[in-house]
Subunit: 402 residues, 2 copies
Amino acid sequence: MLIVKKFGGSSVADKDKIFNVARRCMEDYEKGHQVVVVLSAMGKTTDGLIAKAHEIDPNPPKRELDMLLVTGEQVSVSLMAMAFHVLGVPAISLNAAQVAMRTTSAYGTAKLKRINTERIRHELENRKIVIITGFQGINKYEDMTTLGRGGSDTTAVALAAALHADACEIYTDVDGVYTADPHLVPNARKLSEVSYDEMLEFASLGAKVLHNRSVEMAKKYGVQLVVLSSLTRAEGTVVKEGAKMERMLVSGVAVDKNTARISVIGVKNEPGIAFKIFNILARNHVNVDIIIQSVGREDRKDISFTVARTDLLEAMTLLNENKAAITAQDITCEEGVAKVSIIGAGMLSNPGVAAKMFEALYSANVNIKMIATSEIRITVLIDEADANRAVRTVHDAFDLAD
Amino acid sequence: MLIVKKFGGSSVADKDKIFNVARRCMEDYEKGHQVVVVLSAMGKTTDGLIAKAHEIDPNPPKRELDMLLVTGEQVSVSLMAMAFHVLGVPAISLNAAQVAMRTTSAYGTAKLKRINTERIRHELENRKIVIITGFQGINKYEDMTTLGRGGSDTTAVALAAALHADACEIYTDVDGVYTADPHLVPNARKLSEVSYDEMLEFASLGAKVLHNRSVEMAKKYGVQLVVLSSLTRAEGTVVKEGAKMERMLVSGVAVDKNTARISVIGVKNEPGIAFKIFNILARNHVNVDIIIQSVGREDRKDISFTVARTDLLEAMTLLNENKAAITAQDITCEEGVAKVSIIGAGMLSNPGVAAKMFEALYSANVNIKMIATSEIRITVLIDEADANRAVRTVHDAFDLAD
């Protein structure tokens, strides 16, 4: 078997954890499997590097920030190779340039395009464990790029697809996908299986188990994922097509506090304005989430939407620079908000689900600011201060507990 | 003009120092010059990375250690690019892979083979300051290599040669080459010029101003160097062919405490033994310095030599493993020794020089353990405890003070 194993930053945060990971990988290697290990930067390394950059330059060029950040994973993979050396297992570390992990040129948010697997296959055939830097790539200028936060998951899935791996294991600090964040909801239950689509909703809504793009890619290439803990031997959650629904309308509740609301007030009620607003943001790689447009009153209307809180400053700057072009009378924003979502395949075939969620929030005295739905998700935007209470209330209302 | 400027780790150790370097480079840029900046890792970064490696693996594979160490310079160059961005100067950082800084495969002690200057020229023509990682390269396997300590000097000289630069400025924490270490000999005098050969002796004998291989390369390609301080505006020392000798027999006194003595006792007095000993060491990249062979008594003789103290453990291990093959009866070593040298072109045409040095040491009650000479240098091995006193005594004896 060829197994791709991805370990996040907290799984390699110090010497003991590095050896713990090495020993787990060694078990599969000693069974005769080929093992590819994808690593993130150790612990809070990436945050530390960003802080270092901001100390010099509050608004660093994205190319140079990527050049800086990619050092984090390179440290992880070389130290991991040393741990394997101590354990007597042949291993080799490779960075994105060495495996020609080609991406688009959008620094900070690059997308993987193709991987040259020749070097990896060569090292695997020599019975080496191959340790690869997650999160990073190289673009057509031979410059280093990063895939955005959580991009190591995407690296692992892309490698699993390119190498036609038999398994792709994503190790995190939780041991699977839960009906809600166990820190928030102590009696949350672990799901044994979820579908790609459900996982996508979980991922995009702040359940920090798997990176969204990694799930999209896994779905596209049919890579079956397992989410496990690097610290326990507990069975994880399998993410695959057509996972059984466990006869639940709702499989979980997710919360996302990295969100902010922007309202563009009093824009002209004419075609093309919404396009202009969202085009400005898209061109600058600011992702927009829930969008609500007021019913036009006379010649003016308001457009509200959410962005990641980390993108708020950039989004506000862009919109204010283009205030005249988008015909806005005012642009306002609010930071202290959170998204709470229920997720479950097929829930919308049962119209009672939304009402039940809103009722639970009403009974807990939580005010709903915005609502958005997809086929398998209902999301509300509420005050951040209400978020934890809202998650517990909704989790109870749908009897998701153990 | 095209100017290559190299700054060592202490010159880029923190934010203020990074901006200081950026501003100095900016001055030349604004005069219309093309500027290439070569940087080492910040402050004690490399030592920190080595400590991190040793925490995991006391004897890390050299390939993986290089993979780890090269991150140090990559951090420096990307942060420097950000500093230029803040100052409004277009700049771009490039690592060894991006400029195809090809080296031999000897990890940790790789030698530069060739540089592809295309990308650098392209960026310079776009009026960018180009910031390049010193100390590192890439070998035929596309793996990262390092040039050994002080290798950034070599990177700078190699770039100056490959780019046919008009000047190559090496910035250090001293403002030139002195007749002795000013920390040790307060009235030491700065030399305005030295020849490549003198500089080679200074460099190889512990005056940590310029890396030996960088001077050899500068001599080979006729690259004129200037050694300057990044902190002052003092005129530096020019290193060039046929520098004027300032009518001095001796231009300086150097001390090297990174040295240890090894004695191979009672080897068979037959041809090939010395070859065997030094071949074992050379194959493992252990450099040997002063060598003394006792006059053979009957069928046995002793061979003593010095190695860098950092290579002592490896050298002793290698020799003990091959004790039978080299017919040694015993192998001993001593760590607490130092080399003190006087350097000056043409000194050996005056036989009084050596005698004067030995007389000075005798009058200071310093015992001489070994002696070695070259055309422009006399070196003695003494107890480390005597080293500082010996330097001052010899410096006085030759009237080198200001």
